[in-house]
């Protein structure tokens, strides 16, 4: 491993890359030991039914099977969920979607496990299912959760700003459209999995998760254990993107281990099981009406947004609220009427996924903005520049922007970029039977949990006898590189290089509670805690060293890699020696940070505040997609892509690029090909041959530019960047296709057949000789 001085703002190879590139890093599924048991679940396979009986006898007789457990074996509440605890560990009375787990089998090996799972039979009384979210909401003859006061509406929210939709009457121009977005599957390469052991009354679970501390509480409650009896260890995830925000295998592992004390037991979902059982991005139906004046200024917006949350809450209410808050985009609109619903159905489970409700609303808003620009006859860039939010403005939900607001700076950067300036030339260079188009879309993404739920992190640093500073990271690194960033932050403050910094991964027994790896908060919140801890550590070791060397004060001392130097005399103390001279308690510093929140009352609905409205800090950006459409097939190819992002100051430019490029890649999959389908609740895209994610041949090289505004409250001026990249591709590509071909696809994704169909219809409506020229952006 190459040694590097750790400094803020510098591209430093990620510390975690060394163990990953040599295959040494141990993920949750990589632990094996002799005698390890395998566990797995029988899933319902039907969308809606009452369970009359589960027959486990035949399965129990399979050689190698140790036990078959059902909901009767769960000693706790048997319920999981972050907000509404409505999802059983093992289904007890009801089946609500085909992925519901009904029985847990523990066996000596995988073959016995598979054989036993096939022999479990269920007596089920079919219940009428509901698959259409509008029907579920309007005609509540079928109730998914009979105990829910809101019926099938998990949560609804409404925000009225100014005159609300009455403002539309005062507009010179009004455009209206409906949009539909499909389920999107996270498709992390590492499926859900881990292992557990119950020893001396304590349960230890090693699992691929974004939320170890919350998992501990959930497992303890669901299984009836004391909080202090559960330990969650969270290695690096092999991808998560929101899909491991909450319980996957944790309680099942715990239940299996409780029944077989002192035996390690392992669960790894296979790909089909992961696709069937895991949460996905909410499908959404959106009805948008935007009004503007002759001057191109937006005046009023009405948006109705319906999210299909599937059978369980699984953060669906919070997703809905974040979508509602972002529904009006980064624009100044005096009158808004925004309404959103998250509705229970018997469809696949929806939940957290990078962007968290925002990619759906942004797909609608950014397309309707382009439709308005076309109607008024101004360019898509000009209409955005005229309406972009500035600091001090009120955003769509009426919250005053008091923090860094870089949307205009991003738009101006795009305006001056060659990709934008030379777009006409590029479009005209299209080959035979091909049409080129360019499209832009603004993006914004709120950071953190919102005004009520404490967004807190606790950092801990230790100086070790080996002469290193050890950072105890309380937030999971699911691949986004926050662990390396933590070392860079602490290393910069403590004057160290990479050889003298080390990391402890999240573990509820070793590291301190620091919330979830989610909500674009990880580096912002934990980084702020870490800055204070590193500062305290620096002061402490310098003071101790000054005393030891009888220096006049700590101001005479400097931290350099591996040691502390007395500047006037040049005397040095190695860090390891200093650590040995300190008491064990003195070697550790901790620090807590709670993120600031908006104090503004934009809604009187306490539920909406609890679910996160309003946010205080947003990242912003603008994306540009240059597409080429094959007129003979309708296939859309993205040839060039530009993302300009204001996520504050950058600590490590390479890691920012990774986040933005990765977000764009997933967003382009969502725009062009990813469509998780279910028919009557049953998964029709069960694997990678039916659910298509982008390969290296499907994506262009992307250019990413950071507009580094300084966010005062951020660690070294940083804001979150984990999610925002995924908000742009769908509308940018849709706008590009509309720009090139004159057809607007409102039913995503933009698969070739949909594009071809619209191009053909459009051609039939027009005289064959007339060449359609479009007003360029």
């Amino acid at each position: 491993m190459k040694n590097t001085i750790l400094e803020i703002g510098k591209t430093i190879p990620r510390a975690d890359a060394y163990a990953k590139v040599t295959g040494k890093e141990r993920y949750a599924a990589d632990f094996h030991c002799p005698g390890m048991l395998w566990a797995g679940v029988k899933r319902a396979g039907v969308a809606h039914a009452r369970i009359k009986a589960v027959h486990a006898e035949a399965a129990g007789r399979v050689p190698g099977v140790l036990s078959v457990l059902t909901s009767k074996d769960v000693k706790g509440t048997n319920r999981q969920g972050v907000v509404r605890k409505d999802q059983p560990v093992l289904a007890d009375d009801r089946i609500r979607f085909p992925g519901d787990p009904v029985a847990l089998v523990i066996a000596d090996d995988r073959d016995s496990l598979a054989a036993a799972l096939e022999r479990i039979e269920m007596d089920l009384e079919p219940l009428p299912p509901v698959f259409d979210p509008e029907e579920a909401m309007e005609r509540e003859t079928v109730l998914i959760h009979e105990d829910h006061p809101g019926g099938n509406v998990l949560l609804k929210g409404a925000i009225e700003k100014g005159e609300g939709e009455a403002g539309l009457k005062e507009c010179d121009y009004v455009v209206e459209a409906e949009f539909r977005l499909p389920y999107q599957e996270h498709a992390y390469l590492e499926t859900e999995g881990g292992w557990a052991v119950f020893k001396e009354g304590s349960l230890e679970i090693t699992v691929s998760t974004q939320t170890p501390f919350r998992d501990r509480a959930e497992v303890a409650e669901a299984l009836g254990l004391g909080l202090d009896k559960v330990r969650i260890i969270a290695p690096f995830c092999g991808g998560a993107f929101g899909g491991k925000d909450g319980i996957t295998v944790q309680s099942l592992l715990g239940l299996a281990a409780l029944h077989h004390p002192d035996r390690a037991v392992k669960i790894v979902w296979h790909r089909e099981e992961s696709f069937l059982a895991s949460a996905k991005r909410h499908p959404a139906r959106l009805h948008y009406t935007l009004g503007a004046g002759k001057d191109g200024c937006f005046h009023a917006l009405r948006a109705k947004i319906l999210y299909d949350t599937g059978p369980y809450d699984h953060l669906g209410g919070v997703v809905m609220a974040l979508g509602l808050e972002h529904a009006a985009g980064p624009y100044r609109i005096p009158h808004c009427s925004l309404k959103a619903w998250a509705v229970y159905t018997n469809n696949p489970l929806s939940g957290a996924f990078r962007g968290f409700g925002v990619p759906q609303v942004n797909a609608a808003m950014e397309q309707i903005v382009d439709m308005m620009a076309e109607k008024i006859g101004i360019s898509p860039l000009e209409i955005r520049l005229r309406n972009a939010l500035k600091r001090g403005d009120k955003n769509g939900v009426g919250a005053t922007l008091t923090t860094s607001t870089g949307i205009t700076a991003c738009l101006e950067t795009l305006r001056d970029h060659p990709m934008w300036k030379n777009r006409q030339e590029w479009k005209e260079a299209a080959g035979a039977f091909r049409t080129r188009g360019v499209g832009i879309a603004c993006v914004m993404q709120g950071m953190g949990y919102g005004p009520v739920v404490p967004d807190t992190a606790n950092a801990k640093i230790e100086i070790t006898e080996e002469g290193k500073f050890r950072v105890y990271c309380g937030v999971v690194d699911m691949g986004q590189g926050n662990d390396a960033t933590c070392l860079q932050i602490a290393g910069d403050i403590l004057g160290q290089d990479s050889l003298h910094m080390e990391l402890v991964l999240p573990d509820t027994s070793e590291t301190l509670p620091s919330g979830s790896a989610s909500a674009s908060r990880t580096t912002y919140t934990f980084g702020n805690a870490l800055i204070v801890a590193a500062g305290s550590m620096k002061r402490r070791v310098l003071e101790k060293a000054a005393d030891l060397l009888m220096a006049a004060g700590h101001e005479e001392m400097a931290l350099v890699p591996g040691l502390i130097r007395h500047l006037p005399s040049g005397k040095e103390i190695p860090l390891g020696m200093l650590a040995r001279l300190l008491g064990t308690a003195e070697r550790v510093v901790t620090s807590r940070f709670r993120a600031p929140v908006s104090r503004e009352s934009v809604t009187s609905d306490p539920d909406l505040r609890l679910h996160g409205i309003p946010h205080l800090i947003f990242s912003y950006g603008v994306h540009m997609a240059c597409v080429e459409v094959d007129r003979l097939t309708g296939a859309v190819e993205v040839k060039r892509y530009l993302a300009v992002t204001d996520s504050g100051r950058v600590i490590n430019p390479q890691i920012l690029e990774q986040q933005i490029q990765g977000g764009i890649a997933q967003g382009l999959g969502y725009a062009l090909m990813e469509e998780f389908r279910a028919d009557k609740g049953r998964c029709e895209t069960p694997d990678f041959s039916t659910y298509i994610v982008p390969t290296s041949l499907d994506l262009p090289d992307m250019e990413t530019i950071a507009v580094e505004l300084y966010e005062q409250s951020g660690p070294f001026g940083l804001k979150g960047a984990g999610e925002i990249g995924i908000d742009g591709p769908v509308p940018a590509v849709a706008n590009a296709v509309a720009n090139g071909c004159g057809v607007r696809i409102t039913n995503l994704p933009l698969k070739a057949e949909r594009v071809y169909d619209l191009i053909r219809k459009r051609k039939m409506q027009q005289p064959a000789t007339k060449t359609q020229r479009h007003k360029d952006g």
Binding site: T11, R14, G23, Y27, D30, L189, Q658, S696, D701, M702
Partner: protein, 158 residues
């Protein structure tokens, strides 16, 4: 049955049922967990290994097929503590995020560079198109492979 093969340069003999999947043999019996199982059906490339220098999917191979072959896994690429130039390039150019596709990507790149020492970006994209990555968008992986070939070219010239 007894199966003899060369594993990362070492003669290896192991006792395994002939129909045991190679990925299970490597990960569970031999403790080499660098190869990952992303799908178990040959669609994602995370379990890629080199068999006689060529990429193979270890989730689709049975142990008996290893008899007499030379196998390389990601664990056998570095020389002690010194990374292979492909690995070093992946680290330096930010080609590693969650890391789950990384071992497959590294081995596929090795295979490519052996056949095509200075591939174009398109050739690199084609070569790694059987390896899914959900984090990077592939760009930095292509950068890393392109740079390692360019660097080795420079070394040969000098």
């Amino acid at each position: 049955m007894k199966i003899r093969f060369t594993l990362n340069g070492k003669e290896t003999e192991t006792d395994a049922p002939p129909d045991r999947r190679v990925i299970d043999l490597l990960r569970e019996d031999l403790g080499l967990t660098g190869a990952k199982e992303g799908c178990g059906s040959g669609e994602c490339g995370a379990c890629t290994i080199l068999v006689d220098g060529e990429t193979r999917l270890s989730c689709l191979m049975l142990s008996v097929q290893l008899e007499g072959r030379s196998i390389q896994t990601v664990e056998g690429i570095a020389q002690g503590d010194e990374l292979h130039p492909v690995q070093q390039s992946f680290v330096e150019h930010g080609a590693v995020q969650c890391g789950y596709c990384t071992s497959g990507m590294v081995l596929t790149s090795l295979d490519l560079l052996k056949r095509t020492p200075c591939p174009s970006r398109d050739e690199i994209r084609r070569a790694i198109s059987g390896n899914l990555c959900r984090c990077t968008g592939y760009q930095k992986i292509v950068d890393a492979v392109e740079r390692v070939s360019r660097n080795s070219g420079e070394r040969e010239e000098s």
